[in-house]
Subunit: 475 residues, 2 copies
């Protein structure tokens, strides 16, 4: 019954309607890459199913024709996870964007996978509720993508990542069946945790149920400036060591500070070598004490200035400094390549020295943004040329930084995922026996090898070639 690929496209057009099957090369360009700096791969086609049954039909048709498929949300991913390798098709879910229901009493929302992250909190706000995980791309990125990457955000430190907030999903399995995974106190194997962060390699999520939280009664936001990252890092360790769990603990280095000043005219103390954003939230009682404790710790560790953002407008301005940090880098360099690594929080100063040493050795500049509380760093390697020689240096510097993260007892990725970019680097972190556990699972669920192939697990084929294009992507 195996038909030719053309027969697949014809059958999909019959099933979905011709206008929901893109095959024109000029239209496919948009789907060649995600927000990362990968080589482009043109998909065979892009299809836009309208619901679970249509997604299942697409998967079944792909299976019948031996064609690979990959789900895609807003395409804001940063590891090439939504690229259609092996001549596959893209199953675009961004038009499946309905909020199916909000249950105020039980504090949960049921949404289609193409719903934007921020849209959930916007819809829940009038009930005093919000959806906690907040990737910096939250205005654009989708819940389906968040589930695939187990996305976090600046408030991960206190509020956790996607897996802590997903209650259940509807899934089209790699063999084309529709199942429900999750629910209250699910006995048996925790398949929901397994699917969350599986980067779309274990099926396509077509409905997501998430927990909502009460909007915190109060918020205190502080922006502290330090002479250097060492002292800011020591303050981070001291804050955590004091038993304080801020909602967010974000750090930016002097290069970012300079870029922010150039781009937005922020007035930081002229010798500020690092900024630390500390946010506390929760019930009002205790918040003032927590903020005062944080300020005191910062000053004791050499803060030049501790500014409290007392109004909503001031808070928005402080968060602008953090959220536009990547955008501001455009003022100091034409291009940048962002790494995503994790280290034990206490090793931040060591790591930063390493990052700078690596960059200097390759003749490159680097700007650093950290989710400091989580030990998650985003060194952005700046460069002004995209000729092959510079590109190779940038990639080598990125790889060196990543290897050092692992050497320090950290990890390959905090939140951007493995995708294509880091699949070979998985061998730095996992033994062959460790990887065998994952391969058995992947083989059992996707025996045809058609569900987002070429991602997450090493192929043993050496590193994928990267094309570091300039990205001003939301991060």
């Amino acid at each position: 019954m195996t038909a030719t690929p053309d027969a697949l496209l014809a059958s999909l057009a019959r099933r979905l309607g011709q206008d929901r099957v893109l095959t024109d090369p000029s239209e496919l360009v948009v789907y060649e890459a995600d927000g990362s700096t990968m080589h482009d791969v043109t998909p065979r086609a892009v299809v836009f199913p309208r619901g679970t049954e249509e997604v299942a039909a697409v998967v079944q048709a792909c299976l019948a024709n031996g064609v690979a498929f990959v789900a895609r949300g807003a395409g804001t991913g940063l590891s090439g996870g939504a690229m259609a390798l092996d001549g596959g098709i893209v199953v675009a879910l961004n038009r499946m964007d309905r909020i199916l229901g909000i249950d105020v009493e039980d504090r949960r929302a049921t949404v289609e996978p193409g719903v934007r992250n921020l849209a959930v909190s916007e819809a829940a706000a009038r009930h005093g509720l919000f959806y906690a995980p907040d990737p910096s791309s939250q205005a654009v990125c989708t819940l389906g993508g968040n589930v695939a990457h187990n996305s976090g955000g600046p408030h991960t430190l206190k509020h956790g990542v996607t897996v802590n907030h997903v209650l259940g999903v509807q899934l089209v399995t790699p063999w084309g069946e529709v199942v429900r995974v999750g629910g209250p106190d699910r006995p048996g194997y925790d398949l929901l945790a397994l699917l969350t962060g599986a980067e779309g390699t274990l099926g396509i999520v077509t409905e997501v149920e998430v927990a909502l939280r009460r909007i915190p009664e109060g918020v205190r936001t502080l922006l502290a400036s330090f002479p250097d990252v060492d002292r800011a890092s020591a303050a981070v360790s001291a804050i955590i060591g004091a038993g304080i769990v801020p909602a967010a603990l974000e750090m930016m280095d002097d290069v970012v500070v300079g870029a922010l000043e150039a781009a937005f005219g922020f007035a930081f103390p002229s010798d500020a070598g690092a900024l630390l954003l500390v946010e506390s939230d929760g019930p009002e009682p205790g918040l003032d004490r927590e903020a005062a404790d944080v300020a005191e710790v910062c000053r004791a560790h050499g803060a030049l200035d501790v500014r409290s953002a007392d109004t909503a407008a001031e808070r928005a301005e402080v968060w602008t400094a953090r959220k536009k940090a990547f955008g501001a880098l455009g003022r100091v360099a034409r291009h940048y390549y962002t790494q995503d690594g994790v280290i034990p929080r206490t090793r931040l100063p060591d790591m930063l020295r390493h990052v700078r040493e690596v960059a200097a050795r390759h003749g490159l500049r680097v700007a650093n943004v950290f989710h400091a509380g989580d030990g998650n760093l985003h060194p952005c390697i700046l460069f002004d040329e995209d000729d092959a020689a510079t590109r190779a240096k940038v990639l080598e510097a990125g790889a060196e930084i990543l290897r050092h993260c692992v050497e320090l007892g950290g990890s390959l990725t905090g939140e951007h995922g493995v995708g294509v970019e880091k699949r070979e680097a998985m061998a730095l972190l996992f033994s062959e026996s460790d990887l065998e556990l994952m391969r058995r699972l992947s083989d059992a669920w996707d025996p045809a090898g058609l569900c987002n192939p070429g991602k997450v697990l090493p192929m043993g084929a050496g590193c994928v070639e990267l094309s570091p294009r300039a990205r001003q992507a939301a991060l």
Copy 2:
């Protein structure tokens, strides 16, 4: 190379030493059952390995001889999960009970699987730290068993269950390899979440790394009595609805109240039909307000009395009422059979009416203990005869209660696991397609079917026959 089973035992004796291989029937009796009310199954043998390498050697020997194996900790499980079916051997881990290290700065402990739950908190206490999940059996039960069952406890409501606190494990896979699973920001599939709660069917954990938390700065414990469970349940909903997240929210009904009065001479208001234990913990600021808010909600919902336990001794007494509730039932009945179901919290009053109606129809009495905040109920069916007719009624009543939990949108088990007892009931909650996902996984990881067989997944062979023996087991 397949040897006879006797050859297996001989080879295990050579590897471990004869004193670490029990085969004498009089010694095997202890290992016939766990804390549940199952039929006894005599294992072929019980072995006591002394470390990861020996566990791996045992697994490899079992594989070579086609003999099943099951890990066992303290045997406090309540679903028959540690029973050696299919003529298998028990791999007893309770002597692997060393605390391997406590890292105060990073707040983690590394322990062998036979370490008792409470021993971790005891060892961490001098650093101001504790291990949060606190099953009522915590003085006895082991970390390995906690990982297998993803155990919770009264403080689950705020502090989460085992999966929220396990950072990594060393695992002997069902095919006899030693791997590490977990670590900071693990990319790829979340195998740690998968293993946690897999009830020992995906390998044997030989080392566990857990997160420790700071001992809360302050605690407030209230014991409120209500005329009936309906009003206590309404108070529970109102407390949660007010945005308060107590550390614990435990309820007991009038039968339990009577038993506690008879057993320990507690003086509750004479018309108390339900007790509600509410504990708040955290930083001191805010705790008094939270306790006052809880007390006010309780009074507004008809509390007869709200007692504050202000000293450590008073708190211990209040917790005695909760933790000895099961023991106290011995004063009002010779035997009891405990069910473990979950319902949406708001359905507690409906569910309780159903429980009583079912019990009355079968001519049985029932006592109820709830983790009310989680909607997790433990109806204890009381009976004074263990003749076959009564036993059948008790089991039928238990099954009816469980079915109703599922009908109300709840679940089969809150914390006791599926094991043997509820494996056929899994079909109430999961479709064949849903179960197929789990079977593929189990088949991929345990192709020989020798790693704790006969647990978790339905065999399609009808219900396992139960023997409701009286248990005064820690719960």
